[in-house]
């Protein structure tokens, strides 16, 4: 039964031991902040120009709203990014996330049906990939976004390997 990684082998049986948490790489935060700045910057510019030309320069001050939103979003994204972390334990994967709405998910490796690595065009440009775990329950929401592709592939291979070793099905 015991096929855990050598790193965890020492602490096996001692389930209360604090798991080794890993955060997300800064690339994801950079990408999200850049997207935020680009989109809200464009909106602010368009709003400012439109209002300035059509309604008068005083009205153009409304363009500051998206800018304020941008500043707020900047902080929020940072907090959200910091809240994401995951840990591979000997027998299950832990994912913890959320600042206001906190959620922690535990998925035993044996229940994994499929591991998916996805990467959209923007993500690929920033060299990022997401890992998603599927179990037989659709409610299981175990996604780790914004990993470096090498790490995502390592995680996928390790999870698949552990899933095979502990396969339990339904």
């Amino acid at each position: 039964m015991e096929t855990g990684s050598p790193r965890d082998a020492g602490t096996r049986g001692d389930e209360t031991a604090e798991p080794v948490w890993r955060g997300l790489p800064p690339g994801l935060l950079r990408m999200r902040r850049l997207l935020l700045v680009v989109w809200l910057g464009l909106i602010a510019l368009a709003l400012g120009l439109l209002l300035g030309l059509l309604a008068g320069p005083v009205w153009a001050a409304f363009a500051l709203l998206p800018l304020a939103l941008m500043a707020w979003g900047w902080v929020l994204l940072g907090r959200n990014w910091r809240s994401w972390r995951y840990a591979e334990r000997a027998d299950d994967l832990l994912i913890s996330r959320g600042v206001l709405w906190r959620e922690e998910t535990v998925v035993p490796y044996g229940r994994m049906q499929l591991v998916e690595v996805t990467s959209g065009p923007v993500e690929r440009h920033f060299g990022l990939a997401s890992v998603q775990l599927h179990t037989a329950a659709a409610a299981t929401d175990a996604t780790i976004p914004g990993l470096e592709p090498a790490e995502a592939e390592r995680l996928r291979d390790r999870l698949t390997e552990l899933g095979e070793a502990r396969s339990a099905g339904l």
């Binding site: 389930e15 906190r102 922690e104 535990v106 929401d141």
Partner: protein, 444 residues
């Protein structure tokens, strides 16, 4: 798979004998165009009448003369092109006239087998065999088979799924069933009278149409709302009585047998170890009599009722057979959330309860209509802890337990510390709970 590959390879070479469905099947298919016409007429009566008035007797006759043979031909061809075969590990269904479809159903993944007999099929002496497998929305069914053939095929499928040697699978025959429970019609009738939903639907059907009539004076509005309301009222009272009449739960080596129905008879079989969650529902008005309703979830299956109504002790003894080794935690052993949970969910927080035993995770919710959900640890797919900002303020959290039947059981508003421990402990229990579970092929 544990079967030696060599054996498989040798057997694969034997020609698989394909069979056809019962010859009355084309008749069922022949109804389709007629049904479409009737559906259209009901859906849009005005237009239908106008179109009918325009038709003369000759055109009608010509249309019938064309339509009926075409329908018959379609029915015959679709019957002719539907084959099924049972191999060692699979049930293969080959069907389709224009769009061919071949389904190979792995027998060890079978979640449930139903033999259903609609009223007309009972008259004709045929039955429908329905197979539940995970991941398909479209139910694979064999309609129709001869009544005896359907039973024999079900027995054979279950025997093969159970892992009996293929040579003996034919001869195993129908496993003997032991009756666990039979619901008397009187109990069923009383239970329906004591259900709030029945009266609610009836009251709505009696009150809403007259009110609408006074408000609008339009016959069509009244009909358009009144007919569905009456239908709903009928379905929730008479329909349920007819559907749940003579409810029998039996136990056999093949699994759980559930037979029911007054007009349409249904015989469901759920192999051992397929039940993901069991729910005990206790409506307010049943409480004095100590009656409960038991519902169950099987992955990929739409069957949801295990016992429509039964005294609590009887229901618990049935649950003990369905989930071996499980005792239903008593109401006293359920722990309530802490008092401050009332700040998150006023009044109703009293309905929440949680008990974790060696074998099940049991969570209760509902104040008037109490629902206690049981999940065997071995069936837990993932465990989640969720906490919103308001819940954090009061130091409470929810623990969700996801099962394979796409049902999530939630222990709401537990103390935050307790919830965190519960999350860890439940993950550990669900991981180890699998060890003494039955294998997919339960007889092998």
């Amino acid at each position: 798979m544990t079967t030696p590959g060599v054996d498989d390879a040798v057997r694969e070479k034997e020609p698989v004998t394909e069979r056809r469905l019962h010859p009355v099947t084309p008749l069922r298919r022949a109804w389709a165009p007629v049904a479409v016409l009737i559906g259209w007429a009901v859906h849009d009566p005005d237009q239908a009448q106008r179109q009918l008035a325009r038709l003369t007797a000759t055109t009608l006759l010509i249309a019938l003369a064309v339509l009926v043979p075409v329908a018959a031909l379609y029915g015959f061809l679709s019957w002719w092109y539907t084959h099924f075969a049972v191999t060692d590990t699979e049930l293969r269904i080959r069907t389709g006239l224009l769009f061919r479809r071949t389904a190979h159903i792995r027998l060890e993944r079978l979640q449930a087998v139903d033999v259903t007999q609609p009223l007309l099929a009972r008259v004709a002496g045929v039955a429908k065999l329905k197979l539940d497998v995970i991941g398909t929305d479209k139910k694979d069914e064999l309609a129709f088979l001869g009544e005896r053939e359907a039973r024999a095929l079900r027995a054979e499928l279950l025997a093969r799924a159970a892992g009996f040697a293929p040579e003996t699978a034919h001869e195993v025959g129908e496993a003997p069933a032991r009756e666990l429970l039979r619901t008397p019609p009187l109990h069923l009738a009383i239970s329906l009278v004591l259900t709030g939903a029945t009266w609610g639907a009836l009251a709505a059907a009696l009150v809403v149409p007259p009110v609408l009539w006074f408000a609008t004076h339009s016959v069509w509005t009244v009909l358009a709302t009144g007919v569905p309301l009456l239908g709903a009222a009928g379905a929730s009272s008479v329909g349920r009585f007819v559907g749940e009449y003579d409810w029998t739960v039996g136990e056999s080596p093949d699994g759980l047998r559930i037979d029911h129905g007054l007009l349409d008879r249904t015989h469901e079989t759920v192999p051992p170890g397929r039940v993901q969650t069991v729910r005990i529902v206790e409506p307010l008005l049943w409480r004095r009599r100590g009656w409960v309703r038991v519902e169950l979830d099987v992955a990929g299956s739409s069957n949801s009722v295990l016992v429509p109504v039964a005294p609590r002790e009887v229901a618990e003894s049935v649950i003990a057979r369905v989930l071996p080794g499980v005792t239903v935690p008593s109401a006293a052993s359920l722990s309530r959330p802490p008092r401050r949970a009332g700040r998150c969910v006023p009044v109703w927080w009293r309905g929440y309860g949680l008990a974790v035993t060696d074998t099940v995770f049991a969570a209760r919710h509902g104040l008037l209509r109490r629902r206690l959900s049981l999940v065997p640890h071995a069936k837990v797919q993932s465990v989640r802890l969720a906490q919103g900002p308001w819940e954090r303020l009061w130091r409470v959290a929810d623990v969700h337990v996801d099962t394979g039947a796409n049902k999530t059981v939630t222990a709401r508003l537990r103390d935050a510390q307790e919830a965190a421990e519960l999350l860890r402990a439940q993950a550990e229990r669900s991981r180890t709970g699998r060890r003494d579970a039955l294998p997919d092929r339960w007889m092998a």
